[in-house]
């Protein structure tokens, strides 16, 4: 099947089953885009980083980026901006359209079931699953391309330290100007990039 049709199908599924926010959606993206080999694990991690650092929802940003990159990666003859833009357009539309029509046509249905408690019940079942989805996205990224691309032990050790420090910075709240707050993810990515430049350049 044509890569563009595959992209549309994958992103329609992501749009239909994308519950639980951007991070939970990443596990769906990994499963339907990285597993079939449309982009490499390394590209996926880079795209997540860039999607975090640019404005807008991570789901839209990553769909646009993956839509651009995937056709050329699958078929080198499609390596031109025009084919990339087509992929971006299709992937982004496919991820948005299912919820677009659901919001318009099912709000009455949703309101009725919200009152009966059915929606709340569905989400009480979905919530623990979403935790598992985000965990799986994290586990799937803990791979050699991200932590040890060159197979060198000291680099693996340094990358584990970078990861641990980054975790502490975004998770734990530090005293800051009277209040307590954790570091913004974008700042953590920038710091990690600087660390990477100093260590690996």
């Amino acid at each position: 099947m044509n890569i563009y049709l595959k992209l549309i199908w994958a992103y329609l599924k992501i749009g239909i089953f994308g519950f639980g926010g951007g991070y939970a959606m990443l596990s769906l993206v990994e499963h339907s885009v990285v597993d079939p080999g449309w982009i490499t694990e390394m590209m996926f991690t880079d795209i997540v980083a860039i999607s975090q650092m640019t404005p807008g929802p991570i789901g839209i940003n990553s769909a646009t980026y993956i839509g651009y990159v995937a056709p050329a990666h699958v078929d080198p003859s499609l390596a031109s901006p025009v084919w990339g833009v087509l992929g971006s357009l299709l992937a982004t539309m496919a991820v948005v359209l299912p919820s677009f029509f659901m919001v318009i046509y099912s709000s009455h249905f949703i309101r009725r079931h919200q009152q009966s408690g059915a929606i709340k019940a569905v989400f009480s079942g979905l919530r623990p699953v979403v935790v598992g989805l985000i965990a799986s996205a994290a586990i799937l990224l803990m791979n050699a391309p991200n932590f040890n691309p060159n197979g060198i032990d000291w680099q693996l050790a340094v990358n584990i330290i970078i990861s641990a420090v980054a975790f502490c910075l975004v998770y734990f709240k530090l005293p800051w100007k009277g209040g307590k707050r954790s570091l913004h993810p974008i700042l953590v990515i920038i710091l990690a990039g600087i660390a990477g430049f100093i260590i690996y350049y």
Binding site: M42, V69, L126, R127, A166, G196
Partner: protein
């Protein structure tokens, strides 16, 4: 111009349909610009975006009362997809029907789309690989990205208030989906996230139905 003259009564009706477009084109444009601005200046999406949408729609333009906004938010949250985009669709639909929802949704995603496109054209995977500075920078960024996704695992686990009867669910889901990487086992459809989303939704609903039946008898 001659075509326009032959049917003069139709043109104003197209411009101002009193039922689904009470405020005219100016307000549609304003709706587009509002969401475009929100999409352009909000990093991270999700809740960061919701609070800014609320400020713009409720406090600044008074298009919707706060109660109604929260009601739309509840609907947007109950549906799959990207939360910020869902709320844009819902607000647009509430204000100007189908046209409004198309305009608001487009405004919300267009900045992301254009910015990412510009980056993607210049920053291809080959550029990162072949540029010594960029490849060093991204080697530092990649392990940090993993950490950025580990943090919400813990936050969401705490928010989900997992108990002894539910704590196995995320464990089974995470292990099954990543079974290929962790144990080298291919579970086929058993490692598909969609399977667990369907099971979770259905399970929550089934327990609720059983509980209700138990109360009745």
């Amino acid at each position: 111009m001659s075509g326009k003259k032959s049917m003069p009564e139709k043109s104003p009706a197209n411009d101002l349909n009193p039922i689904d477009n009470p405020c005219g084109r100016g307000e549609l444009l304003q709706l587009f610009l509002s969401f475009f601005k929100i999409g352009l200046f909000t990093f991270g999406g999700g809740w960061a975006m919701i609070s800014i949408i609320e400020r713009e729609i409720v406090d600044k333009f008074h298009w919707i009362e706060r109660d109604e906004f929260l009601d739309l938010l509840a609907v947007a949250q109950s549906l799959p997809g990207i939360l910020a985009v869902n709320i844009a669709t819902a607000v647009g639909d509430r204000l100007h029907g189908m046209r409004g929802s198309a305009v608001a949704t487009l405004g919300c995603i267009l900045p992301s789309f254009l910015i990412i496109l510009c980056i993607a054209i210049f920053l291809t995977p080959e550029t990162i690989k072949n540029n010594r500075v960029l490849s060093a920078v991204f080697m530092g960024i990649r392990p940090a990205v993993v950490a950025l996704i580990v943090a919400p695992v813990i936050t969401s686990a705490r928010a989900a208030k997992l108990t002894l009867t539910t704590v196995w669910i995320p464990l089974v889901v995470a292990l099954a989906i990543s079974s290929g990487q962790l144990f080298g086992i291919d579970l086929g459809f058993g490692s598909n996230p969609i399977l667990f989303i369907i099971l979770g939704a259905f399970g929550g609903w089934a327990f609720w139905r059983l509980g209700r039946r138990g109360l009745k008898h």
